[in-house]
Symmetry: C2
């Protein structure tokens, strides 16, 4: 019996990959398939909390979850390794320290920062994409604040934090930074007046596509905390001294040793490099989440793009969509390995969107169009986070890692 | 009456300066003199604890004490400013933001790191001399550990900590670092095997002049914790990649992004630059602690040098000596302003020396020659620290800032 079991390999333990694995663990019979999960680290992390780790308002150990705590290693093979490439024609995955063959593959390799060719951004700006990169930003800012009191001259560039992009990540991160500045000033003996926190957005508005009234609320709240917004302003260049911006043809240099780029993401470049068809770095998957060319390869999460037939726009690359894709992918894999030919079509259940403004503040629109502000939106955000943990690892995990300070 | 009161100006609120001020506050009558204390920061700090702040094993707020908590500002004028130079012929002190005239001056400006002309040390190595510099070292090491997980390649130089000098500060600091490494590895996801902690000492032994048996104990304890000792090894150069060392004519480069120079101190350079006679950066004071040339200028602490007639060696630049000098200087100032001509001769009361090896370990020799190891030496060290706090600010301060975990 054993020899006939197909091999399912899941690449990446982000929202899409880990939820696919957990679902497969539940729905597959013992003799249906071997499931192998491959991930660079031995932990899963909540990408949607990384901006808090990067700002230093939440410790990264709260954000990550050991894979062994949520996946049963008696049922699932776990390989801790880095994916180098995929060879779909050979049904093979090349890892840093070996290779794996598969009968069915699930690609859940997540996003990469996209710098759109802006000069110097890759070299001089930071971006928030992992536990390691978030922790580095926290340490980088702290180090510069410490340097301010020992460097000769009045090095305000050390105390200037520039965030590129006023999308979700940019706004959520800058909100945390604004909350963190008073603590940083206390710890490093800095006069708060000397600190500058700036958001630079190329588009005409923050949180493009979000309800205007909520965006105005968010901007007011952030401006009250000292955030400077530069809308309609392009970053033309980033170098060792800071950034060069342009608005209406006028250029200006802004000296900053802390530039965080949060203005764009794309699918993991390994996917394109492995020869899969991509559109802006993402695989335009079929409705059953398989790639256009391979009946045995699924893509979930940020490496996949699928259009909402109602709006004719792609579903956003969110945790919510990734997890719902995982459900569909796992269901369809079960069908394939049990020789049922009927595959399910991905149908998202859009429950709404909440953007955190730090701590006890947020804005959100729920599925019925209802707008939420402030504490109620913040509670909604925490409820969403806690429901995810409940789904991922049960009540124990929710109690351990959840945001249970909802009603303070 | 007021107009005839002489002005006493005390420069620096280190051990010598602040204890002189506090003693003057106690012994001077209301009409004896005006006393002004000048210090760069509004806090005093315990220089002997800075190595713990630099290693990150003790928060710097434990080490510093607001001057207003220990000096009565109704009786003493406090000026927060930086001393630029002294003009003894004009009885004037030039500050960054003004100047002060004095009738009597006490110079307690502390030490500076001495790099003995070793190439690149000033530019590329850190040294422990203030709250700001200690905090910078803590942040620098943490930042490099964070960078290790994001930089391409196996950048072991980020995880290599080199301490130059195996004197008191070098040994006490490396002991704290050795204790800190496991915490750093936990926080930054580093394999402890990859971390290297090295002490480089030009002389043939660590803690030159200290009891050999105790030194051996200390080295064994530190080696057990992973410290590598390079004795009889000169640092020839420090650059952006690390250090170049030489032993017995053989040269070796050691890649390190964390070089801390703890091998030498000298008196504050302002003293020599202001035209005072110095020997190796320190003023060879008279037995009553006045400078050779000025009957109205006292020097206390690390800017002064005085020879022990018994050993024909200078008294060491320690906190203990600085505080005892403060007693003598304050007494003699009282004599001068009250027109008593009899000045006291400085007679140190050498109570012994204890070197901390971190946490609950230490070595020491007490005044009667008795040797102490381990916990008992560690307790002795904490007793000394607590007695100092008691003297400085009473029971309240000792309870607030003291090391009260002595018997754990």
């Amino acid at each position: 019996m054993m020899m006939n079991k197909p091999n399912i390999v899941v690449l990446g333990a982000g929202y899409g990959g880990i939820m696919t694995t957990i679902k497969l663990e539940k729905i597959l019979g013992d003799n249906d398939a071997n499931v192998t999960l491959v991930n660079k680290h031995d932990y899963h992390y909540q990408t949607t909390w990384l901006h808090e780790n990067a700002a230093g308002t939440l410790h990264h150990d709260r954000t990550r979850i050991p894979i062994k705590d949520v996946v049963n290693f008696n049922k699932i093979n776990f390989v801790q390794d880095t994916v180098k490439s995929i060879e779909p024609s050979n049904k093979k995955v090349i890892l840093e320290d070996g290779e794996l063959t598969y009968d069915y593959l699930v690609i859940g390799l997540g996003f990469e920062s996209a710098t759109f060719g802006i000069e110097g951004l890759k070299e001089h700006a930071f971006s928030i994409y992992s536990i390691n990169s978030a922790r580095l930003i926290r340490e980088h800012i702290e180090y510069n604040f410490a340097r301010y009191t020992t460097e000769p001259g009045d090095r305000r560039d050390l105390l200037t934090i520039v965030v590129g992009g006023a999308g979700f990540t940019g706004i959520e991160f800058i909100a945390e930074i604004a909350n963190r500045v008073p603590e940083l000033c206390q710890e490093y003996d800095i006069d708060p007046e000397k600190v500058r926190v700036m958001n630079v957005e190329a588009g005409p508005a923050a949180l493009a596509g979000f309800d205007e009234e909520l965006v105005e609320y968010a901007m007011n709240r952030l401006e009250e905390k000292g955030v400077e917004f530069r809308l309609g302003t392009m970053i033309k260049q980033c170098n060792e001294n800071g950034i060069l911006v342009e608005k209406d043809g006028e250029q200006e240099t802004i000296d900053s040793q802390n530039v965080i780029w949060a203005a764009g993401v794309t699918g993991n470049s390994i996917v394109e490099e492995s020869g899969f068809e991509v559109s802006r770095g993402r695989v335009p998957v079929r409705e059953d989440l398989r790639t256009p060319d391979h009946d045995n390869v699924f893509v979930v999460g940020d490496c996949a793009v699928l259009f909402n037939p109602e709006t004719e726009r792609p579903y956003p690359p969110t945790a919510q969509i990734a997890m719902q894709m995982a459900d569909t992918a796992a269901h369809n894999l079960k069908q394939l390995v049990t020789n049922s030919s009927e595959l399910e079509t991905f149908k998202p259940n859009l429950q709404g969107t909440v953007a955190s403004l730090g701590h006890t503040d947020a804005i959100g629109v729920v599925f019925d169009g209802k707008k939420l502000y402030g504490r109620s939106a913040s509670i909604m955000k925490k409820v969403i986070d806690n429901r995810y943990l409940l789904k991922l690892g049960g009540i124990g995990l929710m109690l351990k890692k959840g945001k249970l300070d909802m009603f303070r």
